[in-house]
């Protein structure tokens, strides 16, 4: 269609949308970096009142973390299926990825509610504030990811199906999704384990 003219494209050899996503993710590192830094600064300080370690349930969060990590696996499977030209499998794996993401989100909502009932609320102290803003910011990213995955899945329902390039493509969403997963590995370690 439009590529038949004198205009060359993409001297870097990376598809433009994907490149844009890489640039976007590089700024995301700064977003999360700032949040984590604040968290670490306040973590070392003495503060009055309730602590996360008084309320958290590491086995529960470990399970939901595992669920989120598995969603990266299903994302890879979706990508693999699309490379093999298998539209149906692609949709199945996409939907599984979205579901796993939704399970993680549900877990986070449950966890927040539990904390809330035990008196660990946003304005309890500096520690709870940083905790909620940090993990909430990540949760928002997972939520957006789930929306993107479902959008992708519904585009896949149309007659032409998904393709590896063009439009809202799968690699574009996959990059984002893997990034959000990797960030969670860091957050889980920093917030819960250290």
């Amino acid at each position: 269609m439009s590529d038949s003219h004198s205009y060359p494209h993409e001297p870097t050899g990376v598809e433009t949308r994907k490149l844009g996503m890489w640039v976007f993710l590089s700024t995301e590192i700064l977003f999360f970096g700032t949040l984590i830094t604040t968290f670490m600064i306040f973590k070392g300080r003495d503060f009055p009142g309730i602590k996360l370690s008084d309320v958290y349930d590491i086995p529960f969060t470990s399970v939901s973390s595992f669920v989120l990590l598995m969603s990266s696996l299903t994302m890879v499977l979706a990508h693999n299926a699309l490379e093999n030209g298998d539209q149906e499998k692609t949709r199945v794996w996409l939907l599984s990825t979205a579901m796993l993401g939704a399970v993680f989100l549900a877990g986070q909502i449950y966890e927040f509610t539990e904390f809330y009932h035990e008196g660990f609320v946003l304005s309890s102290n500096i520690f709870s504030s940083t905790f909620y803003v940090l993990t909430g910011f990540h949760g928002l990213h997972v939520f957006i990811g789930v929306v993107l995955l479902i959008a992708l899945w519904s585009i896949g329902q149309r007659q032409n199906g998904l393709s590896l390039d063009g439009g809202m493509n799968l690699e574009f969403v996959a990059l984002y999704w893997h990034f959000v997963d990797i960030v969670w590995i860091v957050l889980f370690t920093v917030v819960y384990l250290i």
Partner: protein
């Protein structure tokens, strides 16, 4: 005959906008040139607003013990002046240059993501409107037991905690009311606009370069755009998070920056200046780029030390992230940190010096043509040098603690941001005026503008150095007769009005020349870079076919050869070449397909201010409206292709 292919009028959710003239064509445009022009006008409007705020400040300070403005109004005015000039004037004027010129300089037909580009612009507009709506809806109350006992007028109902929003002063306790929330959320929205455009420009430069446009053949302005985009991409997230914290502190009872809950006000300073210092380079590097284009053209010599200028630009950008605490020498930071940041501040003067010497090397021995852009560029070098040198004095910690929060600092950063950035910007506005409008500005008026501004500028900001060293405190509302500061303050205020006069001259020139100026032709300056190889005003399709670049300053080498001594000699074919280029540029031989206009960027952007109001007024309906607008915008965006399918029957010859 060339086919300009019309898109099929496909109805999605909305019918695709299709008008090519009139207001809708501007609202729905995704053309980088139109977006650039809109950025320019919007930013200039805010420049005037910020300028009026400055004039009000100067009237207040023109005589001792004045009460032209109340204290509350004065606080609001200096806060809004700083915020406006930085976020709503200089940054978007730079964005106007980026938008218009970047694709032209790298030989592209548009930016990488045309609709995202429109989105950035509209977010900027809505962010600006949101911030300024504080004059209508905002409230700035008096802290309990504070000195602001009087009733606060509308003029004073604006953010009043300074453009740096230091905590806890800008927190709820000392800045009650909603004005500072407008500030925090307004900056947040404006930050999104800049972030989005940063992704766009980085991707554009990486991926949209035409054949043969290797990195080391890119014009310096493109290089500086690249550096600025990285600065934006890596510094804005930091202030975004910090502003989140502020909003949470003010609205949801957290204590990130408030000591009573275990928070840390110094953390705000660190986060703010980690953004704020790179921001200084965000403001100045575009001017460096402009000047690096103007000087070689009007000296008729290649830029001296092109690689050095490029690497110095990136050196500045990189070191710019390591000097932030020099804004905090008077805060509680350790002596080791003071020494370290003092040193890094001196180090950053090195690449800046490299640039200054390269510019001097460029004009050295050149055949100078003293046109208005050249005058402004030369003025830039001089004024920026003064600002740069007074900046180095801040690296010396003991001296800096004396100068902190005095008019010396005000003088310093105005020499850098006005004498530097604004002079560079005016140089660029005159230089590319014929490119954008196809007309020539009036040279006499241009020169009057330059000299008025040069005189007014130095009268305004020069005396501030000694006012500051005599102890006039920054942000002071009144000063007593006995301080002996009255004389120079009056001079400063007169200077400010001379600047205002020069701006009027500029506007008159602009408005007159746009209509009645002589035809400029497409290469009025005998310029060097490829944006001058296409007709002026630039056709919608930019280049009728993708240019192939063979060297740095490609356009110049098409026109000129060198003799044995390296002097430029015009090629015999040059004139014929220009005619051919013009003919070719106006009559493309291949089909032109351009991205289609779209409603969705403006719809998506319009949701953000609603979310802002929703946070301030804790209103669910407003939040729902905002989220709905964003959802409609993104859904429509996602389901609408960038370019409609082209079908045979809608093509017209």
């Amino acid at each position: 005959m060339t086919k300009i292919i019309q898109p099929k009028k496909q109805s999605n959710i909305f019918k695709r906008p299709s008008s090519e003239t009139g207001i809708w064509s501007w609202i729905t445009t995704v053309d980088h040139k139109r977006i650039g022009i809109m950025y320019g006008y919007a930013a200039f409007f805010f420049l005037l607003v910020g300028g009026i705020e400055a004039l009000l400040l100067r009237i207040q300070l023109a005589s001792p013990d004045n009460n032209f403005l109340s204290a509350a109004e004065y606080n609001a005015m200096f806060t809004m002046h700083g915020t406006t000039m930085i976020f709503l004037a200089i940054m978007p004027i730079s964005a106007a240059f980026f938008n218009y010129l970047l694709p032209l300089q790298i030989g592209a037909r548009d930016v990488a993501f045309p609709r995202l580009n429109a989105l950035s612009f509209w977010i900027f507009i809505f962010g600006g409107v949101f911030l300024y709506s504080t004059f209508l809806f905002g409230t700035a109350g008096a802290p309990e037991g504070g000195y602001l006992a009087e009733e606060v007028s509308r003029l004073g109902s604006a953010p009043n905690g300074g453009w740096f929003g230091y905590q806890p002063n800008a927190g709820m306790k000392y800045s009650p009311g909603t004005a500072m929330d407008y500030w925090a959320i307004g900056l947040q929205i404006l930050g999104i606009a800049s972030l989005v455009s940063a992704f766009n420009f980085i991707t554009t430069i990486l991926n949209m370069r035409t054949k043969g446009m290797r990195f080391m053949r890119m014009p310096v302005f493109t290089w500086m755009t690249f550096a600025v985009s990285f600065l934006l991409a890596f510094s804005l997230p930091i202030i975004a998070i910090a502003l989140f914290y502020v909003t949470f502190d003010r609205q949801f009872g957290t204590t990130f920056f408030l000591t009573e809950g275990g928070g840390d006000p110094i953390l705000w300073q660190h986060l703010f200046w980690l953004f704020g210092h790179p921001e200084v380079y965000i403001l100045i590097l575009p001017a460096f780029g402009i000047v690096s284009e103007v000087l070689p053209t009007f000296s008729r010599k290649p830029l001296f030390g092109y690689p050095a200028i490029v690497f110095a630009g990136f050196g500045i950008a990189f070191i710019g992230f390591g000097v932030w605490a020099h804004h905090m020498f008077a805060s509680a930071i350790s002596p080791v940190a003071q020494a370290g940041f003092g040193l890094s501040t001196m180090v950053i003067a090195v690449p800046t010096g490299v640039k200054i010497f390269n510019w001097l090397g460029t004009i050295w021995g050149g055949k100078l043509s003293m046109k208005t852009p050249m005058l402004f560029s030369l003025g830039f070098i001089g004024m920026f040098l003064i600002g740069g040198l007074s900046g180095v004095t801040h690296a010396i910690v003991p001296a800096d603690t004396q100068q902190t929060d005095t008019y010396y600092v005000v003088a310093h950063f105005h020499y850098v941001l006005f004498g530097g950035a604004m002079f560079g910007i005016f140089s660029g506005l005159y230089y590319w005026f014929p490119k954008v409008w196809g007309k020539m500005y009036n040279e006499t008026l241009g020169k009057i503008h330059f000299w008025l501004m040069m005189i007014g500028f130095n009268l305004t900001f020069g005396p501030m150095h000694w006012l500051g060293l005599q102890g006039q405190v920054r942000r002071t509302w009144v000063y007593a007769e006995e301080t002996n500061l009255a004389f120079w303050n009056l001079i400063v205020s007169i200077g400010a009005f001379i600047i205002a006069l020069s701006i009027l001259v500029f506007m008159a020139n602009w408005i007159y020349s746009r209509r009645k100026g002589p035809e400029a032709g497409f290469d009025p300056w005998d310029a060097r870079t490829i944006e001058w190889s296409i007709p002026s005003p630039t056709p919608v399709w930019n280049f009728s076919k993708a240019p192939e670049v063979k060297s740095l300053d490609d356009f110049w080498h098409m026109k000129y050869d060198e003799d044995e001594e390296g002097r430029p000699v015009k090629r015999d074919t040059a004139d014929a070449l220009l005619l051919e280029l013009e003919e070719e540029g106006l009559n493309p031989k291949e089909d032109i397909e351009l991205p289609n206009p779209s409603y969705f960027p403006i719809i998506l952007a319009s949701g953000l201010p609603f979310l802002g109001y929703a946070v301030i007024y804790k209103s669910l309906p407003l939040a729902i409206v905002g989220v709905l607008l964003i959802l409609i915008g993104s859904f429509g965006w996602g389901t609408e292709p960038l370019e409609e399918e082209f079908t045979e029957d809608t093509e017209n010859e």
